[in-house]
């Protein structure tokens, strides 16, 4: 999967831009993502229905995958069935 490729979810509205990827299957809502949307929507798998958030980056534990969400949806992202996690900023604690 080439960096810069835009993938669409078959199960929801999610769209991502591939920043980094290896050879595994990138999925959303439990169904493989593709550059084109299938004519028939795939069912949203309950285990992958936590939703995606616009502008967030999603990564795997080994640093082999990074997806940037450019359109949010109800499905959540995975690679070969393993859920990706949000790559969040880890800001220094602060309080007033």
């Amino acid at each position: 999967m080439k960096p810069g490729t835009r993938l669409k979810s078959a199960a929801c509205d999610t769209e991502v831009m591939v920043i980094r990827a290896a050879d595994g299957t990138i999925e959303c809502g439990g169904a493989p993502m593709d550059e084109a949307k299938p004519a028939d929507a795939a069912p949203l798998a309950a285990d992958f229905s936590a939703g995606t958030l616009m502008g967030k980056r999603y990564v795997d534990a080994d640093g082999r995958y990074e997806l940037l969400c450019v359109k949010p949806g109800k499905g959540s992202l995975s690679v070969d069935g393993v859920a990706l996690v949000v790559k969040d900023a880890k800001p220094l604690p602060a309080s007033d």
Binding site: K2, P3, G4, T5, R6, E15, M17, I19, R20, G51, L53, M54, G55, K56, R57, L68, V70, K71, P72, K87, D88, A89, K90, P91, L92, P93, A94, S95, D96
Partner: protein, 480 residues
Amino acid sequence: MQRRKASHRRRAQQLAGLIVGTMRRGLPAPTFALKSNEASAEAEIRASRALFAEDFIAITEFSAMSGDRQTMATKVMQGVRVLEVAQFTFTPAAGAILADWGADVIKIEHPVRGDTQRGFLNMGGVQLDPLRHTLFEHPNRGKRSVGIDLSTAEGQELLYEMAKHCDVFLTNYLPQVRQKNRFDVEHIRAANPNIIYARGSAWGDKGPEREKGGFDGTAFWSRSGIADCMTPPELPGPLSQGMPAFGDSIGGMFIAGGISAALFHREKTGEAAELDVSLMSTAAWASGANIAQAVETGVITKNAMPSSGGGAKNPFMGNFWTSDNRTINLCMVSPTGLIRDTFEHVGRPEAADDPRFQDVLSLIEHSKAASDILVAAFAEKPFAYWREHLKTLKGQWAPILNLLELASDEQALANDMLIEVEGADGGEPLKLVRGPVQFNGEALETTRSPQASEHTEIVLMEMGVDWDRIEDLKSKGAIA
């Protein structure tokens, strides 16, 4: 070369949707001055530039057809690009004002930690949702975020390349950090001699404490005389600021004003200025009338303890308590022509015929008696009655409102004081306050603040950084 061209075209097309999405969100149309370090491949770069330009022009036109708000609203800073290396509220707020005005503001954040403001989740005892982070939204709406580690040589080199495309460099990092990470004025000016270099600080860029940090609680509120003046002497100690980012937000507007003047100066003369605004200078200016008076007279005037009643010399100046323990403020500094109208409005028309109150000089002489009449009158009726009834009062007055009442205040809303941005959690929009300047009577539309490093690739590619280098920088941890 052919293969490379094709790959550029493909990437441009792949990015197309993303950019259109970005522009639909109302961010300024990017200008594509593409550059690259690879001097050896100049012809190839020219060719790829042309390809990029073609695609992007097509995208821009498409976007304009979709009815972008930037074609509708006055954008006085359209075409200005600001490189912001700043944290917390004060200096980022200047970037937010410039973004409100149409500038393309690129916020550089640490690739792992982001702006420390993002970690500011406990405010006045209220826990904030990081995806609905109002304290981050307020000074960062309308910007794009790029994650660069400026402690690395690669990160610094990238910053210099970005600086070449920018009009303004905006920072509030301390001088020693600017030196250590090599983004002080001489480093940035080496990359772009025409850039305006704007610094926000706590205590100013000169003097023995220039390397000391601070916040508005210290530099604006505490050391400036403001805390001292705000506090009635009867209280056991000084009041605290009590309003998060209060001095910061005022001062941010000052920086934005300074940058606007510097941009105008550069336009007229070709000279790029450095500029400084500190939280201490912000406080001194805001208190300037009283500071000058204190220096001239040697007397420090302070707040009095709250009470219902007018001033010792002017009964029409003061807070008056209503029957339901709310407050109406009268502020008729010059009561000429207002005496009869005021007494009639508070239901004491007979006082208007009292010879003690027949003119302003005599009113001042009998201030206590007039004040007592007003105090008794206001205490007879509730707040809602007075708000309605005083609408026809000729003199100056206001109800004392809380923040939520302001947010639904008819006059505030009529002047577009609140704006909405989408919630990063996909939920209800967030309501934010617009900058204080309105151009051509137009309401402001802007976008939510960026997620940390949300726009790294798109901004770098706009500036001509190719994907191989982006991957390389990413693997080294220089960007995110």
